[in-house]
């Protein structure tokens, strides 16, 4: 019978119930990006060129990195709203130090990472140890970190002149025809992607996000897992902040203000479920490229700003709606309430 044949085939590919829904989700982002590209190519002759592609990737690079960090936290079912503030704080403090102590050279990068780890640890402590809902905890640190930056900056700017030369070169340089930042972003995505797959640290993040109650029964340390994801996110955000600083040149205390919304949008569009447990940093990176593509294409079409916001908003809501449907499928597929003997 045809029906059973198809069922058998679906079964073999693992395309039954919740599993199918999960697999289709990642493909969805890629298809969405391709559709965008096709649409813009038709609408604007200037879109489908190497130069424009390069410019999209360059403008997406830092967002990609920040989205990877955010993805770590979202995979555990939490949020990090303080990402923009961590970027701003790290960039300001690090470049201030780099300008004053030139002899530190690239060692300032290590300091940036350490600073990001501390800021992430504070977030993680609030969420994992004090059990404050992450949306509130990181909304608080969003303000605190930004406030600290303003206090530290005392209305001064760090100007591009005091930036270390190697940093400026990195921001403007190209390697093999692509901006250095794009390579850096790809590297970060790959490293974190591999870490999630090959380190127990990454596996536990997925496990905890998938079913935190089961994680407890498996004897996993929930506090450690959530702390770990926030520290990772903090480090990556600080790194992204330093890159952004070098790109912008003149750094004031409002650097990356409001960036968290872009980052969250990228992660969600990229298919990382806001409920945790599913999605990948590769998806998050593609989500960042989707946002950059929308911006780029609409600028080429000379469309007004509010259309850009409109389209971006629709993309976010669509992405979360799809996630909600997938989630329901997975839940009904794994619900143990079914009494199989009644069916047979």
């Amino acid at each position: 019978m045809n029906g059973t044949l198809i069922a058998d085939w679906r079964e073999r590919l693992g395309l039954t119930g919740g599993a199918a829904a999960l697999k289709v989700r990642f493909l969805g982002v890629v298809v969405f990006l391709l559709l965008l590209c096709v649409a813009f190519s038709i609408l604007s002759p200037r879109f489908f060129t190497f130069d424009n592609g390069r410019s999209i990737l360059f403008s997406a690079a830092i967002l990609m990195i920040a989205a990877v960090g955010q993805a770590l936290v979202v995979l555990t079912g939490n949020l990090d709203l303080s990402v923009g503030s961590i970027m701003g704080l790290s960039a300001y403090v690090i470049y201030d130090i780099a300008g004053q102590f030139v002899e530190l050279k690239p060692f300032v990068m290590v300091m940036a990472i350490a600073l990001g780890a501390v800021l992430g640890l504070i977030n993680g402590f609030l969420v994992a140890v004090l059990n404050i809902p992450s949306i509130v905890a990181t909304l608080g640190t969003l303000s605190i970190y930004r406030g600290f930056t303003s206090f530290y900056a005392n209305a001064q700017e760090v100007t591009s002149g005091t930036l270390p030369g190697w940093m400026r070169d990195l921001a403007t340089g190209t390697v093999l025809g692509l901006p250095t930042y794009v390579w850096v972003a790809v590297l970060v995505v790959l490293i974190v992607g591999m870490a999630l797959r090959y380190l127990p640290w990454g596996r536990r993040i997925y496990a905890y996000g998938s079913n935190s109650k089961a994680a407890h029964f498996y004897g996993l340390n929930s506090t450690q897992i959530v702390l770990g994801s926030y520290v990772g996110a903090g480090i990556i955000a600080a790194f992204a902040g330093v890159l952004l600083g070098a790109q912008v040149g003149n750094i004031n205390s409002l650097l990356a203000n409001g960036y968290e919304l872009q980052v969250l949008a990228a992660v969600v569009i990229g298919g990382v479920s806001i409920w945790g447990g599913t999605g990948s940093v590769y998806g998050a990176a593609i989500g960042a490229i989707v946002l950059a593509t929308i911006n780029n294409g609409l600028v080429l079409l000379q469309v007004q700003e509010f259309y850009r916001l409109l389209i971006q908003g629709v993309a976010i809501v669509l992405a979360v709606a799809v996630d909600a449907i997938v989630r329901n499928k997975v839940q009904s597929a794994t619900s143990r309430r079914s009494i199989t003997e009644v069916k047979s």
Binding site: T16, L199, P200, A207, A214, R337, I339, T340, V342
Partner: protein
């Protein structure tokens, strides 16, 4: 093979273990031994303390008192991973898998095979496949758990529990979601493990599989140890008597008032995977008890009648008129109300006052031109407070009240809309004995004086016998028995609840 240094030393000794949750004593001074290489059945009613005991053995919970000896040495596991390392593992009744991860990852999370600092994915897949082979249920280890059937997921959990030196494996109702064929596979696994020297603790309500598998049976009741005996020495009747025979006396008051016409008529009610072909009538002035094991589909039936499940088929008639249950609001309007078992989470809004809770079901009736009228709200709440003798004032917060009083408020909330049919899910669960009697009297008054029709779901058999006029027994989603109260005994109810409808009764 499992090391067993001295055959006379029990594999596991439970010595004087006690555990309380707040005021509830879940385990009271429980002591018994489990021998090496036996299948040990652990039986008892819902709430007898089986799951708590399992949690303590595997380190999920810490005992308040007492100790546990594994092969003669005292152990105190801090968490399930600790227990696993010592060769003690459990498969719990609740689903405890990661739906978004692969079968292999689910089996080996917490004990990843490593190559240096990295997880060795190849070894993980091989190891997972080996373990599945061992339980006789090979699966593609790359599949996501979200796509598995219930039985497949169950075997993944069992594979997970296996390790090379498994000394004690606890299976908590492992066959409750399996077909007979799948269950048979599991019996083989248990037999094989036993032959290898592992002690298997088998928690089950099914007489036939207890008889088939177990060497020893331990009966728990109300958190206490009742008896441990070789399987051959304990007859079925005796076992059931030990399980239910408690000395809590529940008062029975004979009904004198005649029953009225049919108020609620249910015909062929089915919901895929939950229950099938449920038909019964509920008369005016009648209390019908619904007995059955937890998970048999009792609550789901009541919820479906109350419009909480949109995938049901069959017909529901209220006062002779066909009503299609679509939403709780619509059913409440039709005169059918439902009180959920978990009243704190679902039945009440505990951060509001008694008055506000009671007013919530009648916001429309109590308002004028779209504004709530405080005076009529107060009046309505006061009336119910007096009628149900709720202790405390109507402006007290529900969260400050005792369990029994909260339940009264939950009932009052619905009585205020003057329903015809009340569906009560475990109305006395977690309520002390004194208030329990109060709630029983309220139910009797509602049925006999107020002429309501009441469907009462309860796991407390003495309560079912004391309050009901008729008992429906649900077993695995099907109506197993409809017994008039005159013929009902704890034994025949439990027997009906533990057999499968399609099969012959063998209890």
């Amino acid at each position: 093979m499992t090391p067993s240094p001295n055959p006379s030393v029990p594999r596991l000794s439970i010595r004087g273990v006690s555990k309380s949750f707040e005021a509830v004593r879940a385990l009271r001074d429980v002591s018994f031994d489990l021998a090496a290489g036996e299948v040990h059945a652990l039986v008892g009613e819902n709430g007898a303390g089986k799951s708590t005991l399992v949690g303590i053995i595997t380190g999920l919970r810490q005992p308040d008192d007492g100790e546990i000896l594994l092969d003669g040495k005292p152990v105190a596991f801090k968490n399930p991973l600790d227990a696993r390392a010592a060769g003690v593992a459990a498969v719990y009744q609740d689903p405890n898998l990661f739906p978004h991860l692969s079968v292999a990852e689910n089996i080996l999370t917490g004990q990843y095979p490593m190559r240096g600092p990295f997880v060795d994915n190849g070894a993980m897949r091989t190891k997972a496949a080996e373990l599945l082979e061992k339980v006789g249920y090979p699966l593609d280890v790359d599949r996501l758990v979200a796509g598995l059937t219930v039985a497949e997921a169950q075997f993944v959990e069992i594979a997970r529990a296996l390790s090379s030196d498994l000394r004690l494996l606890i299976l908590d109702e492992p066959t409750s979601a399996l077909t007979p064929g799948e269950a048979a596979k599991l019996y083989e696994v248990a037999q094989r493990l036993k032959d290898e020297g592992t002690t298997v603790v088998w928690i089950s309500h099914r007489m036939e599989e207890i008889r088939r598998l177990s060497d020893t049976i331990t009966v728990l009741r109300d958190g206490g140890h009742v008896r441990t005996a070789p399987c051959a020495e304990l007859e079925d009747d005796e076992m059931i008597r030990l399980m239910v025979g408690r000395d809590v006396v529940v008062e029975t008051v004979a009904r004198e008032e005649p029953l009225g016409p049919v108020q609620l008529s249910v015909r062929g009610l089915s919901a895929p995977g939950m229950f099938e072909d449920i038909s019964f009538d509920l008369h005016e002035g009648e209390i019908v008890g619904v007995a059955g094991l937890v998970g048999s589909g009792r609550s789901e039936i009541a919820q479906a009648i109350f419009g909480l499940n949109s995938h049901v088929t069959g017909t529901v008639e209220v006062e002779g008129a066909v009503v299609k249950p679509k939403s709780p609001g619509q059913m409440a309007e039709a005169g059918v109300v439902y009180l959920p078992e978990d009243r704190d989470a679902e039945g009440l809004i505990s951060t509001m006052t008694v008055r506000d809770n009671i007013a919530l079901t009648g916001i429309k009736a109590l308002s004028k031109l779209g504004f709530m009228r405080p005076s009529s709200e107060h009046e309505r709440a006061e009336k119910q407070r007096v009628a149900l003798s709720i202790k405390g004032g109507v402006v007290d917060l529900v969260s400050s009240m005792s369990g029994g009083n909260r339940q009264k408020v939950a009932i009052a909330r619905w009585l205020a809309v003057n329903p015809k049919v009340l569906l009560l899910d475990e109305p006395t669960h977690g309520i002390d004995v004194g208030t329990k009697a109060d709630v029983h009297n309220i139910m009797r008054d509602l049925a006999r004086k107020e002429r309501k029709a009441i469907l009462m779901i309860s796991s407390d058999l003495p309560e079912v016998l004391a309050v009901s006029d008729r008992v429906l027994v649900i077993s695995r989603g099907q109506l197993a028995a409809d017994i008039d109260i005159a013929d009902a005994t704890q034994e025949n109810i439990l027997a009906a609840a533990t057999t499968t409808v399609s099969k012959e009764k063998n209890v």
